[in-house]
Every structure is written in C-alpha cells, then in structure tokens.
C-alpha cells in the first residue's frame, strides 16, 4: 500500500509545455489536470480505459518519428513528447468523427440528448464540418427496451461501450453486452435474462449520445429549458450528490454529480423516485401528496385551514401535558429534526421521542462506535459486513464497496442469506438468525460456540474453511478494518446485531465502523436528539442539561420510551403511556416490523397527529394530518451514513399548502403559547452549530465553501474538499457546478470540540443476548429490505411501482420436499403471532432451517407489509412453521 500511496511524479512535454503526471495516471487525465482537454467518448474517469473510440488520438514522438496513440490508453513516461494540436491530430479527429457520423442518424432535433450531447459538442469543436457519406444509413426498429426503465435507439449508438462496461465493471453484472459485429453491433440484454440492475439509469447518463434514454425522461424536456439545483439525494442515507433539474415547477430528472461519496453514480430509486414528488411527466396519476391540513370530523378526514389544524393539535397536546410520544423524523432535514426535538424535549417536556421504528440500531451504538467514512473503504486493509443486502438498502454504498473488492481488499461477510455482497466477498459466513454473535465470537477465536452451532438439527450453516479464511483476512487488532454493520434481519431483535458489533469493537480496537442505517437522515435525526435519552449533539440527558438550560425552556429528566415501548404502553394501557402520538413523516402501520403492535398502539392513542408528505396507511387513520415538504422542495441540510452533513436545495415549490418540517414545529409551538425562538432555517442551523457539540464549527459559510459532498462532523475529523471541475463528457447533462472558494485544505478542529461519540456509550449495549434454541419443526425467519418495496416513494412513482414483486417465502428445497409441495405453491407460514399464506419458492442458497421473506411486500390477501404480520417485537427471533393450506 505504502508504495502506491507515494505519488511518483512523471515529467513530460505536452504541446511544448513541461507538465507532470502521477504514476499510473493516463495521459488524457494528466493533460486534463494541466488544462488541456482532449476529446473523448469511451474514456470515463470512473471506469477502466479501453481505447475503443479513437477520439482521443494524440501525436507521440518515438524513435521512428511520431505516431498517433490513444491518450486514454497510454500512461505518460518521463521525457515523452506529446502533441494534441498538430495537423496530424486534427486530421485524425476529423476522420474519427466523420466515421462515427457516417452511420449516425443525426436526428438531434428529436433526440433527448440534443443540447447536452458529447457527440454534438465534440463534432462542433473538433469535427470536419462536412460529411462525404452519401450512402444509406443503418435503420433499426426504435426504440427497444433494454430494461424496465431504459430504452435503446440502436442507430444512435457509437459503440463506445460505456454502458456495457458500467454494467460489468461498476454494477458488477454484465446483463447487457454487445452483440453482433461491424455495423450491426448493438447493445443487448439476453432475451430471457433482463437488465434488472438497480443501477441501470447510470447507463443513460453516461451514454455520450442519445442511444440510451430513460423512460421517465424520454421526450419530457429540452435540456436548455431546465433549471438545476445541486443537492443531496434523500432516497437513503448514502446521500449521493445530485443535480435536480426541473421545468415549470415540476421535477424533470435527477442526475448524478461526481464526488467522493457517490462517484457520480445513483441507484434507480434515487434517480427516478422524483416522480413521487411532482408526478411523472406523462402520467395523469397524482403523486399521492398531502396538500392541505386535514382534521377528522365525524370520523372522516376533511381539509381544514392551517390555523384550525394547529389549534386542534395544540389543544390535544395541552391536554396530554407531557404524555406525548413522537415517532419518526428520519426523513426530515437536520434543521427540522432539531426544531421538533426542541419542541418535544424542550417545550412539551417528553423524552419519548424516537426517529427509528424498531428497524434500526440503538443510538448509543451509533454514537459509541469509532466512525469510519466511505472514503476509508478506498484504503481499508479489510472490510467486514454484517448487514442486510447493501445493494437493496444502501445501493451506491454497495458500488463503493465493490470498488474496494475490485482493488483486492478482502471483504468478510456474515449474512443470513447470500446477497450482492456475497458475490464480491473474500469469505462469506452464512448464519441462521440469532447466531450472528456466536459466529462473531468464533471469528474472535472463541471456539466454545462451535459445538453449539454444530448441534443444530440441520448442521453447521457455513463452511469451517471459510471461517479460517475470514480469520486470516481480518487484520490483527483491526488496523485498517472497516466494519459495515446494519439491520440484517427485521424479524430478530436489533440488540443481537448491536451486541455483535460491540464485541467486534472490543476484539478489534482499531477497527472503525459505518453504521448502515437506511433512512435518509436517520443519522442527523439521532445526532440531533430524536431518540430517547439524548439531547442534540450526541450528548446524554444528564450531560446536556446544563448545555441547553439557557436556551431551552426545559429538558427531560428521565429517559423516555422508544417507538416499540410507546406503542406497547399504549396497547396495554400501562402507566406512563403517551396519550397523544405525533408521527413525523413516519408510517408505523407499514414500516414497524411488528405490524400488529403498530395497529394496537395507534388504535389506543387519544389523538394521532401525522406530519406527512404523502398519504399512507397511517395518515388514513390519523386525527390530524399536517402536510410537509419532501425531497427536492426543502432548504437545509441532511446527514448521511458516515455523519457527513450536506446541503439540500429546493428545486420546486411545495404543492398546495405543505410547509417545511421546521415551520410546522415553529407554528405548533406558537399555537401552544410557546416560542422556539427561531424563524429561519439559517437560524436553526446556527443554533445547532452553537449548542450541539457534534456540530461545532459547522457554519453555513464552511458548507458553502465545501464541495457538494459536504462536511463530515465533527468538523475537522476528516479533510474538507472544495469543488473539483467536472468533466463535461463524463456525466453529460449536469450543468456547470459553480467553483467553490475553499480549495483542498484541512479545516482545523474547533477548540474544545469532543471527538465523535465516546466509547463509554457502548456500556448501554448488552454483552450478549440469549437466543432460544432451534425448534426442529420450525424455520427461523429472516426478513430483509428490498429497494423496491411498498413505501411511498416507490408506490407513488409510476416508473418504479411496477418493479415491486409480490411477497414470497424462499426456503431450501428440502423444506418443500418435506412438505411434499412444488416450488411456487402457496403455503401457510404460522408464527406465534399470526399466519400468512404466500407462495413458497425453492432456493438452494437458503440456509437449511431458515426461511427468507422480503419486508414491505404484499401478498394476495394481505395488502401492505405482509411480513410484518408475522413478527413479534418482544421475541428475540421469529420461528415459523410452514404448512400446506
């Protein structure tokens, strides 16, 4: 590693100037850094060079005179003499472009890429100006779909192979490839194996011509008519950098912008989920938004004015006193999260506030583990993952992990069902639900566990050789080890994963952790106190009391109830139960793993106030619904999975009467006769930076100077970068991003700021959790998230909604044999709580003795989240029996 990291400088002559290149850097990149742009089509800075288009030819002096060479495919050497502007080069460029255009339809006036097309632009800048081609051009049927979201106009393709290389090299599966030869070459998926990648939209963005178009954008707009806002994707907590483009106050498309978090890539949910905000451009369907405040009158929700809704909410809250529970807020902005924490904890005085819906991990774990960054993956010695399927939950993080694997970093995986990470893992350990901690112990050298695992009626779930390989791959003491830990299974108690993570932190003291919580701003919500027991800034109630005393009216003295505890107290009528529930953009009836508990708890609340951008199962049952702005309508900041704060910029105005998250908190405080004391988003940001120790020094000025990637908190814990100039052909369509003043420099840690988290917080995590032994007749359930599920973003996006599968249960073929039924037969799963009928699919990769189900998918007779009906939040693991119907 050390050798690679030392930059070796190579000096060569470029157009008569002496310039420098780094070792391993291609000529085209070195020239670009020194200010000489060489035209290109196939070269892409985030992929391996292939040298197929010949657009980048330059003249290189050699022993036998000068030769034309592709600058994307040769590395400069010391003393090399290169010309990019000679007659010979110009002639080559003319020739290449004339050839490319020979078969190109030149239907720019009706092509989506027209106006932002590298072929147009480079033809204008470097082309011959005239064509000698008078023959008949190629004709193809147009367009043909190559995936559910991407269409191909074959005659426009210039065979640069960017799309096929993206599929093979970046996304990891060559589901599209060139077929045919010569002028009949076309990009094609296999007829029976469609291009189902979660990342297919990237091929559209990097295609240097209009050959690939996205269904949601085709014929929607001309690029020069679009306004652009540079923002952060809030589809999940990776926080990819985006350019959001709109026209006439409707979102038109979302493009990836190159940066250190996402490398310019987006997943298809992040790219196309905008339809859930302002609707699809050609669909009549409404995006399911809540557009006016609503109040339940005579058992029915009716639109009312804001003042009526707010007085009703204030009346309910005043009656409840501090018997108020707050659930959600992980989709809010940081400023909104802080406003609601200040209202709930600082005015109402309740600590029963929880941004997570029993589907995450404890805040003390998140704060207590030493933090890793996504960039750390690039230099890690090894990566250990214990999480749900990354390509389903945090898709672009999977791409970044894949890059590390591609470079040879060993990935050790502990999983309950093979997934995307298994395909890139150095060693993968399959474990049944409940056994994760036991396997972690074995990894740490405690073999006592082995016998117990081996005693399972179905035997050991992994290959002992894989365990040895894994042990060997993990660096001693954890130096350079990055651990990605998330909720691997929603049908088991999250404490199991938390205990395992704590054990790893103990055994590998130098390891750092990325806690893979999924909702967009769950990190920000936790940091700012939307979790029981904490005040903004990752400080405990006791520690924070004095810090907030001067500015807040009050602070809670005792730790409040988590989401599950609130709902359970409500359902059982226990003392201390909240009477009013405030749901911040959350939909427990769909998203709580224990579906029955959500229903029972909500039914008992005297008043349910839901702040929501979309109509959901929960808003339908609410007493008061307050419309809030959603992605791409908001100003403020969000915090990603690594604790990186970045900017959210509004691209469109909110529909109807929706207000921003912090405005609603402020107005509600007013209605309660109190005052949050802040009236602008900047004022909230300033108060956060002033009071929350984790956010010290995070000024608007600093954020404005940093690249769109934002700043990792605490400020100073990681280098802050200014904006890099964008390569116009690498991510066509992104309008120039303004240069940022900061440049590349290390911001210094503001004095007195504490380091992130604090290992002492880990004391709250149990050392071990006891797990009930296996029941020979039952299957242990693993429930995992999928990218396309029954959530509001997907169901309200006409392009994505068809991609949601119906729920099935995957089991090992032997389980079906035992039952005597064929794959695809509808079976009955019976848990202690309930039963569910759904098709059983035979899958030999399922661990024997387990069953695998997707979260938030419907069955024929269970709309909404079918899996949630089987899960009992009070059980450590979920065992189900499979029966014939």
């Amino acid at each position: 590693m050390a050798d690679d990291a030392t930059p070796v400088t190579i000096r060569f002559t470029l157009d008569g100037r002496e310039v420098e290149a780094n070792k391993g850097e291609m000529l085209i990149a070195a020239a670009e850094r020194s200010g000489t742009y060489i035209p290109r089509f196939c070269y892409h800075p985030r992929m391996e060079p292939v040298g197929v288009c010949r657009m980048c030819l330059v003249e290189v002096e050699g022993p036998r005179g000068t030769t034309l060479m592709p600058s994307c495919y040769i590395a400069p050497s010391d003393g090399m003499v290169v010309r990019t502007d000679s007659e010979k080069v110009k002639k080559a460029q003319d020739g290449v472009l004339e050839f490319l255009l020979a078969n190109h339809p030149l239907d720019c006036p009706v092509c989506d890429k027209g106006g932002e097309c590298p072929l147009q632009d480079q033809t204008l800048a470097y082309g011959p100006g005239e064509s000698r081609f008078i023959e008949e051009k190629r004709h193809f049927e147009k367009p043909v779909p190559i995936s559910d979201l991407v269409l191909l106009d074959r005659e426009r393709c210039i065979q640069c192979s960017r799309c096929t290389r993206f599929a093979a090299e970046v996304a990891g599966e060559a589901q599209i490839a060139f077929s045919g030869r010569g002028d009949l070459v076309e990009v094609a998926p296999f007829p029976t194996e469609p291009f189902t990648s979660h990342f297919s939209g990237n091929t559209v963005q990097i295609c240097p011509v209009g050959a690939l178009t996205a269904k949601p954008y085709r014929f929607a707009a001309r690029p020069w008519d679009l306004d652009q806002a540079e923002s952060t994707c809030t589809g999940c907590s990776v926080g990819c950098r985006v350019a959001v483009q709109s026209s006439q106050d409707r979102l038109t498309r979302v493009l990836g912008v190159d940066g250190e978090v996402s490398h310019g890539w987006l997943c298809d949910k992040g790219r196309f989920g905008f339809e859930a905000v302002t609707g699809a451009h050609d669909a009549d369907s409404e995006p399911g938004r809540v557009t006016t405040p609503m109040l339940k009158k005579n058992g029915e929700l009716v639109p009312v004015t804001w003042s009526e809704a707010l007085s009703a909410a204030a009346a309910a809250l005043s009656t409840a006193g501090s018997a108020v529970g707050v659930i959600g807020g992980a989709q809010f902005t940081n400023e909104g999260a802080y406003a609601w924490v200040k209202l709930a904890k600082g005015i109402i005085g309740t600590d029963s506030v929880d941004a997570q819906l029993d589907d995450g991990l404890p805040a003390s774990l998140v704060f207590g583990l030493p933090a890793a960054t996504i960039l750390d993956l690039d230099t890690a010695n090894a990566v250990l993952t214990i999480t749900g399927d990354l390509s389903e939950e945090l898709p672009v993080l999977f791409l970044r992990l894949r890059e590390a694997a591609h470079r040879g970093t060993p990935i050790v995986q502990i999983h309950q069902h093979p997934d995307s990470v298994t395909s890139i893992a150095h060693s993968a350990l399959a474990v049944r639900s409940g056994d994760t901690d036991a396997v972690v112990r074995m990894l740490c050298g405690d073999d006592v566990q082995a016998a117990q695992l081996r005693n399972h009626p179905e035997g050991l779930s992994f290959d002992p050789a894989a365990l040895e390989a894994a042990k060997a791959a993990l660096p001693h003491g954890g130096k350079g080890l990055v651990v990605i830990v998330g909720r691997e299974n929603l049908a088991e108690d999250g404490t199991l994963t938390a205990a395992a993570a704590k054990r790893i932190a103990g055994a590998f003291p130098e390891a750092t952790f990325l806690v893979g919580l999924r909702r967009a701003n769950v990190r920000g919500a936790l940091d700012l106190g939307l979790t029981p027991g904490f005040l903004p800034g990752r400080v405990t109630l006791a520690e924070g009391q004095s810090r907030y005393a001067g500015t807040w009216a009050t602070t809670p003295s005792a730790t409040g109830l988590s989401t599950v505890e609130q709902l359970r107290a409500l359902a059982t009528g226990a003392a201390g139960a909240p009477s009013v529930l405030v749901l911040l953009g959350s939909d427990p009836l769909t998203d709580l793993p224990d579906g029955a508990l959500a229903a029972a708890g909500l039914a008992k609340a005297t008043t349910t106030i839901v702040v929501s951008g979309h109509h959901t199962a929960t808003t339908a049952q609410a007493d008061i619904v307050l419309p809030v702005t959603v992605a791409n309508e908001r100003t403020g900041t969000t915090t990603n999975v690594e604790g990186r704060v970045s900017v959210l910029a509004p691209a469109v105005a909110a529909p109807g009467q929706a207000w921003s998250d912090w405005t609603i908190a402020t107005a509600l405080a007013d209605a309660l006769g109190a005052d949050l004391g802040l009236e602008t988003v900047d004022a909230f940001a300033a108060e956060i930076a002033a009071l929350a120790p984790s956010h010290r020094g995070l000024s608007a000025q600093l954020l404005a100077g940093a690249s769109g990637d934002g700043i990792i908190i605490p400020v100073g814990s990681s280098p802050i970068h200014g904006a890099q100039p964008l390569d116009p052909t690498a991510f066509p369509g992104v309008k120039a991003v303004p240069a940022r003043p900061l440049g590349t420099e290390q911001a210094s840690l503001p004095e007195g700021a504490p380091a992130s988290g604090g290992a002492a917080l880990l004391a709250a995590i149990p050392e071990a959790v006891s797990v009930p032994g296996p029941d020979g007749y039952a299957l242990r359930l693993t429930v995992q998230r999928r990218l396309y599920d029954g959530g509001a973003t997907v169901t309200n996006s006409p392009s994505l909604a068809p991609l949601v599968d119906g729920a099935t249960v995957k089991v090992h073929p032997s389980a079906l044999d035992r039952l005597g039924v064929a794959s695809g037969t509808v079976v009955r799963l019976r848990s202690a709580a309930a039963h569910l009928d759904l098709p059983a699919i035979s899958d030999k990769t399922v661990i024997k003795g387990t069953a695998v189900l997707s979260f938030n998918h419907a069955t024929a007779d269970h709309a909404g989240n079918a899996a949630a009906s089987l899960i009992d939040a009070s059980a450590v693991v979920t065992d189900v029996r499979m029966e014939t119907r």
Partner: protein, 205 residues
C-alpha cells in the same frame, strides 16, 4: 436441469477445467453445444454462461460476433462456399449462385426440409482446390456444379455419415482442448494430411 446431454455436459466440464480462467472455455463450449443442436439455443447459452461464470448476455455477445457460431436454427448440413479472391477467380460466385438455385434458398437460408443451410464464406484456407466448399466444416473438394449436385444428393440420401457428422463441429475444437485424442492419433492424422498435400502438389504439376 442441464440442456446438454450427460456426455456433452461431462465433456464441457472437463473443457472448463483445462483453463486457469473459466471464461477462456467459452468459445470451445459454443462449438461443443453446436455439435449437439446445430446452433446455440438460448438454453445452451445460459448453460455455457453458468459453466464459464459469465452472463448469458456475454455468451450471446461472443456467439453473435463469429460467423461460425450460429444463434438461429440451421439445417443438418451447413454448406459453405468461398467467394474470396482465389475462389472468386475460380468461379466461386457462380458456384454459389448454382447452389442457391439448386437448394431453392438464398445465402443464409435453410431448405424447407431442414437439411441444408447455405453460407457464403471468406477464405477457408484451401485455395488450391478452388472454389472451396465445406460441409459442416469439412472440406469436400467439390469444385464444379455437377460435383456439388452429386454431393448434395448423396447427403440427402443419407450418405457419408462417417465423414460428415450432422451438425458437425470443428474436429479441431475437440482436439485442441486435449480431450480423448491420443498423441499417436494426432501424429497419424498429421502424416496423412502431409501425404495428401504432397499428392495434390504432385497432381497439380
């Protein structure tokens, strides 16, 4: 369920095992699969992909690149007639036209009885017997319309089965992957080929 017959599957697996990288076996496997079905069926391409650990799309990409690999059904006998320079000068175009008329199908087509597929080829490296004709990749040395007609009749009547296997694939494929071809057999064949060439040289003097 394997699309390959058990024997072919075994041969395919043995072929894959010969290479340090599984994907290197892709083209030999395509030829082997053609030996079974005459062309690469979708099921065969999927199975080859699994065996070589590449996607079916990549198998199809490779298969559609090469003229000797077919992704559409072909007749029992694929008749290739060369029209490259040496053969063109020796009447290759005329022979091809004759074949079209005789078979009643255009180049690239298959006779309605499913017996013959006609192809126009580039140089087959047997220019000294021009115009060169191959059937299922075996040189048949028929240079005149009459000789071609006679051969087609003979094949249609079920003749020359030993020499020209139906859906025949390259002998070379089975050999270069080193499967079940003892060294002495190879030496014998080489000697025979050398003798045949010497005889031809003698004849053309």
């Amino acid at each position: 369920m394997s699309h390959f017959s058990p024997a072919l599957r075994a041969k395919a697996e043995a072929t894959v095992a010969l290479y340090p990288k599984k994907r290197s076996a892709l083209i030999p496997l395509c030829h082997l699969a053609q030996g079974q079905d005459g062309y690469l069926t979708e099921a065969a391409m999927v199975e080859i992909g699994e065996l070589c650990e590449v996607t079916a799309a990549e198998v199809r990409g490779t298969a559609t690149f090469y003229d000797m690999l077919h992704t559409d059904p072909v007749g029992k006998y694929v008749v290739g007639i060369c029209t490259n320079i040496a053969c063109m000068l020796a009447g290759g175009d005329d022979l091809l036209e004759h074949a079209e008329q005789r078979l009643g199908c255009a180049v690239g087509g298959t006779t309605t009885d499913g017996l013959f597929t006609l192809e126009e080829t580039e140089c087959l490296a047997d220019c000294d017997i021009a115009p060169c004709v191959q059937v299922n990749h075996r040189f048949v040395r028929t240079t005149t319309p009459e000789a071609l007609d006679a051969l087609l009749d003979e094949l249609a009547a079920g003749g020359r089965v030993d020499e020209i296997p139906s859906h025949g694939t390259l002998i070379r494929v089975e050999r270069t992957v080193g499967l079940q071809v003892p060294k002495d057999v190879i030496a014998e064949e080489r000697a025979a080929a050398g003798a045949a060439q010497a005889a031809r040289m003698e004849g053309s003097k």
